[in-house]
Point group: C2
Chain length 241, copies 2
DNA sequence: AACGAAAAAAGTGCATGCACAATTGTGGTT
DNA sequence: AACCACAATTGTGCATGCACTTTTTTCGTT
């Protein structure tokens, strides 16, 4: 254990960099849902006092990454199956809206880039790893977000995506999910290129909802106890191993 | 000026009630966009120390109601015309999504309530005040939010609505905007009752965007200096008086 | 009188201390 | 041995103090 991981002496406030740090830990799964975070410990870990840590917790709570219980500290956010599918629904709607706007506003250069990158991604389906495809997948969606030119919607979508991240691990590990995903992307790209705004919204909504179903299925299959009585909330179900 | 406005001694943390207080002041326009909020003063006003005030500021910043400049305090959020129309666009998309889901999921009791309240609201168009119609308008949209059964999307829509509130004042003061609004509502209600999900999404999007245009127009017309060089951001333009 | 530099004032950001709430541990009672 | 009350411990929530940054005021120079 290194003492006090020197919270980069850059500009801005100390708080922001600690927020980044902890958010990454949560999103990446290093801090599993349900983990209790206590101010004292974090203060020592980052070599600051408890005051900025408390502020950090506030930021994380605002992002929905942790839950704050008055007088009882904060824990990494846990989601009930209902809450998870609700979040996915929101994600699907947001991405559908962004895709629709992208179809209407994308310029020719952006269209070319999207088409080219998508076509290249076919290699990843056969030869790439899940992680590589996952990375391309993020790029694919980011291109569409960008093209929609709707910063506020984009922001909401990205926040929602971040909240889902701890529960999306290894989404592409399921049987031939990669090729299914590619085909869905393909339909989306074609709809964008032909300017079919309503169509692309429908396709994107379905695409995200498929991912949602996969996530739920994956988690269900990897439950320690298949159908137990008392585990309403999802803690991290271990995937990347 | 009463000293220390006894921040209701209820349960929960002190911070939450102060957040409510200040959020209300901002949303209602008591604290105009651009107003600087300093911790010291607020601490005295609410009879607490600066620490919980700082936390309060964090919450308000997370909601987008204030802007935080490191080492330079917080000010009530100000929006450039572009940012304002961007926010309205997001609002339009969110409400369109919610309306679409509502059309698919509304039960018969909810349909009856919506239709009844909408029909009754015709009186307000002729006999009511702007404020009364504004209040009904909120109810109308809330009914649809509720019926969509999509808590996360609903939350995003409500947060966005709150952020827009300081800039929406007196939106119904413009010529016959009331009857126009009622007609738009009418089309929306009919689409919901016939289960035309895609149609209601389109109508709702247009409805919110009309409000957006009205807002922009109203602000433009009430600008102190019609076309000046240097006022990129909108402070509160005084309406309710 | 206008301008600029330096000093003073004001205000933020973080550390630390204390009071109180929640949790855990212990011992007594049935 | 199981259960409950009470004490000890842990940890949160807020107050206060100090250092440093930003802003304002003052004062000397042109």
């Amino acid at each position: 254990m290194k003492d006090s991981e020197t919270v980069s002496p850059r500009k801005g406030t100390v708080v922001d960099s600690i927020v980044q740090n902890l958010a990454d830990d949560i999103v990446s799964g290093q801090l599993a849902p349900g983990t209790k975070l206590d101010a004292q410990t974090m203060a020592e870990r980052f070599g600051v006092s408890r005051t900025p840590i408390r502020e950090t917790f506030g930021h994380l709570a605002a992002m929905g990454l942790v839950t704050h219980r008055p007088n009882r500290g904060v824990v990494v956010a846990t989601l009930s199956p209902e809450a998870l599918s609700d979040l996915y629904e929101a994600m699907a709607e947001l991405e559908a809206s962004l895709a629709r706007l992208a179809a209407l506003r994308m310029n020719s250069h952006q269209r070319e880039t999207l088409e080219r990158l998508h076509n290249e991604s076919i290699h990843l389906v056969r030869d790439g790893t899940s992680d590589e495809y996952d990375q391309f997948n993020r790029t694919f969606h980011a291109l569409i977000f960008e093209a929609a030119r709707s910063p506020q919607l984009q922001q909401l979508a990205e926040t929602t995506r971040t909240r889902l991240a701890p529960f999306r691990r290894a989404q592409f590990r399921l049987n031939n999910r990669l090729s299914k995903s590619w085909e869905e992307h393909d339909a989306i790209v074609r709809a964008i290129l032909t300017g079919d705004a309503e169509g692309v919204a429908r396709l994107m909504r379905a695409h995200v909802q498929t991912v949602s179903a996969m996530s739920a299925e994956f988690i269900a299959e990897h439950q320690p106890r298949p159908v137990a009585a008392s585990s309403p909330d999802l803690a991290y179900q271990g995937a990347d191993g």
